[in-house]
C-alpha cells in the first residue's frame, strides 16, 4: 500500500483549515458513523487492534489507556487534549491545529463516544496565539454546524469542547501538571497513582491524549485496524509527524510512516546537514532524549527501535547538530532550559537541575575541573526516578549521554580555558583557567 498523508496532505491549500474544506474532503464522516450507532466497546477494541500508541512522548497504547476509565461511575468523565507542545524541538501539533484543526475535533468526538465523555478541554500553550485563533474559529464553526453541542452530529449525544489557554510553563505538558493548571492552579505535577483515568481533572476519570494521537482516529476508522497496523512497524504503526530542526538545509515537519531511518529523514527529507558539513550529533525525540552520535543515526524512527538504541522517540522532535557544534555549549543550553522549567516541588529536580546547569556552565566558561565530569553523572544518578514527574529524568538523560558520548569536547573545554564559542566572545579571558586550579 502506498503511504497516504493524513495530517498534512492538504496544508498547502488556502482554505484547508475551514469546515467547508474539511467536509468537502470527507471530513466528519467517521465521527458521524461512530456517534450514530457504533458501540463504544467496539471503538475501543478497534483502536487497541490498530495498536495506536500515544504521540505525545510516552507512547502508551491509546485504546488500553481508554479502557482504564471506569464504565460505571457517578462522576462526569473528561477528555483533556494535550496541546501544550513544549518539548524543545517539537512543533508538530501546531501544524495540525493551524492547518487541519477539524481533524483534531473529529478525533475528539470519536474518543468522547468511545469513552462516554461529554466534556473535552483542549489545553493549548499560551504562546500559540495564531493556533489558538484558528482552533477557536474551527470550534465555533463546528458548534454552528451542530457538530458539537447537545445533539452532536444528530446523535442525541451531548459533547462539548472548550479551548483552554496555558500561560507559559513547560511542566504543563506533563499530564498531571496540565490537569492541575486546568483546575486554575500553578501547574505542579501530582504523584501517580491515582492515574488520570481514575482520578484526573476535577477529581474525575479523565482521558489525556495528545493532539496527533487523536488526529489518527478518523483514519483508523476509515481504513480499519488491520490496514492501519500495516503502516510501518507492527509494534508501533501508523503515519507520523517528524519535526527536524537545527543544522539541516530544510528544517520542517515531515509526515512519513513510523520506522523511517533517521539518516533518511535527515538526508532525503530535510535536505541533509547544512552548508555541506558533517553530522556530529542528533537528539531524536525532543531535548529530553539521550543524544545519538553520527554513527548511530541509521536507527529506525519508532518507539521500539529507538528504545533499543538507548534513547527514545519521545515527541519526534529531531535536533541536528553539525561538526562545528561544541557539545558543552549545547548542554549548557539544555541544562538552562530544565533548570528554568523545573516546577520546584521535588528537591532532587529543583536542586539537581540547578547544579547541572552550574557545573556545565563553569566548564564552558573555562572554570571546569576534570572531576566535574564524574560530578555531572553523580548528580544525574540522584535525580533519575526520584521525583514526582519525569522532568528530572528529562534533564538527566541528555546530560548523561552528552557528557559520556562527547567527553572529548568537555575535556578540551576544561583543559583549554573554556568552550570555543566562549573563548571567541571573551578573547582576553583565554588562558585564565590556570588561576582557578
Amino acid at each position: 500500500m502506498t503511504f497516504r498523508k493524513i495530517f498534512t496532505q492538504h496544508i498547502a491549500e488556502a482554505d484547508c483549515h475551514t469546515l467547508e474544506f474539511y467536509q468537502r474532503n470527507g471530513g466528519y464522516k467517521q465521527a458521524r458513523e461512530a456517534l450514530n450507532g457504533q458501540d463504544p466497546d467496539d471503538l475501543i477494541e478497534q483502536v487497541k487492534a490498530a495498536n495506536l500508541r500515544g504521540r505525545g512522548g510516552a507512547g502508551f497504547p491509546t485504546g488500553v489507556k481508554w479502557s482504564f476509565v471506569p464504565k460505571s461511575t457517578d462522576k462526569p468523565k473528561y477528555l483533556v487534549v494535550n496541546a501544550d507542545e513544549s518539548e524543545p524541538g517539537t512543533f508538530k501539533d501546531r501544524v495540525i491545529m493551524e492547518k487541519n484543526p477539524h481533524l483534531l475535533l473529529e478525533g475528539i468526538l470519536i474518543c468522547c463516544k468511545a469513552v462516554a465523555i461529554e466534556t473535552a478541554y483542549i489545553y493549548i500553550r499560551g504562546e500559540f496565539v495564531f493556533a489558538t485563533r484558528r482552533l477557536q474559529q474551527a470550534i465555533d464553526e463546528a458548534y454552528q454546524a451542530g457538530i458539537f453541542g447537545n445533539d452532536s452530529l444528530g446523535s442525541g449525544l451531548k459533547i462539548d469542547v472548550t479551548l483552554h489557554r496555558g500561560a507559559g510553563a513547560y511542566i504543563c505538558g506533563e499530564e498531571t501538571g496540565m490537569l492541575t493548571s486546568l483546575e486554575g492552579d500553578r501547574g505542579q505535577p501530582k504523584l501517580k497513582p491515582p492515574f488520570p483515568a481514575i482520578e484526573g481533572a476535577f477529581g474525575c476519570p479523565t482521558v489525556v491524549n495528545n493532539v496527533e494521537t487523536l488526529a489518527n482516529l478518523p483514519y483508523i476508522l476509515e481504513i480499519g485496524a488491520e490496514a492501519y497496523r500495516a503502516i510501518g512497524p507492527e509494534k508501533c504503526p501508523g503515519p507520523k509527524l517528524f519535526c527536524i530542526s537545527g543544522h539541516v538545509e530544510n528544517p520542517g515537519t515531515f509526515e512519513l510512516p513510523m520506522g523511517i531511518p533517521l539518516r533518511t529523514l535527515i538526508d532525503d527529507h530535510a535536505g541533509g546537514v547544512w552548508k555541506g558539513r558533517k553530522l556530529k550529533a542528533v537528539i531524536p525525540g525532543g531535548s529530553s532524549a539521550h543524544v545519538l552520535t553520527a554513527d548511530e543515526c541509521g536507527v529506525a524512527m519508532d518507539i521500539e527501535s529507538l528504545a533499543a538504541a538507548g534513547t527514545m522517540l519521545g515527541s519526534a522532535g529531531i535536533i541536528v547538530m553539525d561538526e562545528t557544534t561544541c557539545m558543552v555549549d549545547a548542554l549548557v543550553n539544555i541544562m538552562r532550559f530544565y533548570h528554568h522549567e523545573s516546577c520546584g516541588q521535588c528537591t532532587p529536580c529543583r536542586e539537581g537541575t540547578g547544579w547541572l546547569e552550574k557545573i556545565v556552565h563553569r566548564i564552558a566558561h573555562g572554570e571546569g575541573r576534570m572531576e566535574d565530569l564524574d560530578l555531572v553523572l553523580e548528580v544525574c544518578d540522584r535525580m533519575v526516578g526520584k521525583t514526582i514527574c519525569a522532568l528530572a529524568d528529562a534533564a538527566a538523560f541528555p546530560a548523561q549521554s552528552i557528557v559520556t558520548k562527547f567527553q572529548d569536547d568537555f575535556v578540551a573545554a576544561i583543559q583549554n580555558g573554556g568552550s570555543p564559542a566562549w573563548k571567541r566572545r571573551h578573547p582576553s579571558a583565554v588562558g585564565g583557567a590556570a588561576s582557578h586550579g
Binding site: 524541538g89 500553550r125 504562546e127 495564531f130 500561560a167 507559559g168 486554575g184 537545527g246 528544517p251 555549549d329
Partner: protein, 168 residues
C-alpha cells in the same frame, strides 16, 4: 483599599460564559487572567487583586499563579514585548546574534525595558517554532526565519508604529 478597576460589560459577559464551561469556579482563573490582561493591558498587583476579588480567591493565591507562568504580561512591560527564543534549535541557528542585534539597536539587554517604555527585551525558552529558527515573539506575533536585516527592519517598523501612535 478600594479597587477602582472593573471589567467592561462585554468582558463581564465573557467571564460569565467561562463560568458555564467548567465545573469549578477556580478553573476559570487562567482564562480570567487573560481577560484582565487584555482589558487592563498588564497584570500588576491592582489587576491581580481585582481578579482575586471578582473570583473570591485569596490575592496571594492569584499572585502565586501569575508568577508561576512566564507568559502573562506583567506590570512594567514595554508596549512591544520582544521575546527571543533561546533554546537549543534557535541557539544553533544564531539566536544569540539576534539578541545582540536588538541590544545594539535598542540599547537594552535581556530583562530590560527602554526608558520610554516602548520596548522590552527578554530571552525565553522554546516557543515551538524550531523549524523557523531563529525566531522571536513580539506581543502576539511570531517573527520567524530571522536574518539580522529582518531584525533591523522589524525594529524600524515598530518604532514608526510607536511614533505614529504618539503623534496621532
Amino acid at each position: 483599599m478600594a479597587n477602582t478597576l472593573s471589567f467592561s460589560s462585554e468582558t463581564m459577559k465573557q467571564y460569565e460564559w467561562l463560568l458555564t464551561r467548567y465545573p469549578t469556579r477556580r478553573a476559570v482563573l487562567l482564562p480570567t487572567l487573560r481577560l484582565a490582561e487584555s482589558e487592563f493591558g498588564e497584570l500588576g498587583v491592582p489587576e491581580m487583586r481585582f481578579v482575586a476579588d471578582l473570583m473570591e480567591i485569596p490575592p496571594a493565591f492569584v499572585f502565586g499563579v501569575v508568577t508561576f507562568y512566564t507568559h502573562y504580561r506583567r506590570a512594567g512591560t514595554g508596549k512591544y514585548n520582544i521575546q527571543v527564543c533561546s533554546t537549543l534549535s534557535c541557539a544553533l541557528r544564531g539566536s544569540e546574534d539576534v539578541v545582540s542585534r536588538i541590544t545594539e539597536r535598542l540599547g537594552i539587554g535581556p530583562g530590560e525595558t527602554t526608558p520610554c517604555g516602548q520596548f522590552s527585551l527578554s530571552k525565553v525558552e522554546c516557543l515551538g517554532s524550531c523549524d523557523t529558527a531563529p525566531m522571536l515573539q513580539c506581543n502576539d506575533d511570531y517573527h520567524e526565519d530571522l536574518t539580522l536585516e529582518d531584525v533591523d527592519q522589524l525594529i524600524e517598523q515598530l518604532r514608526a508604529e510607536a511614533d505614529g501612535g504618539q503623534n496621532g
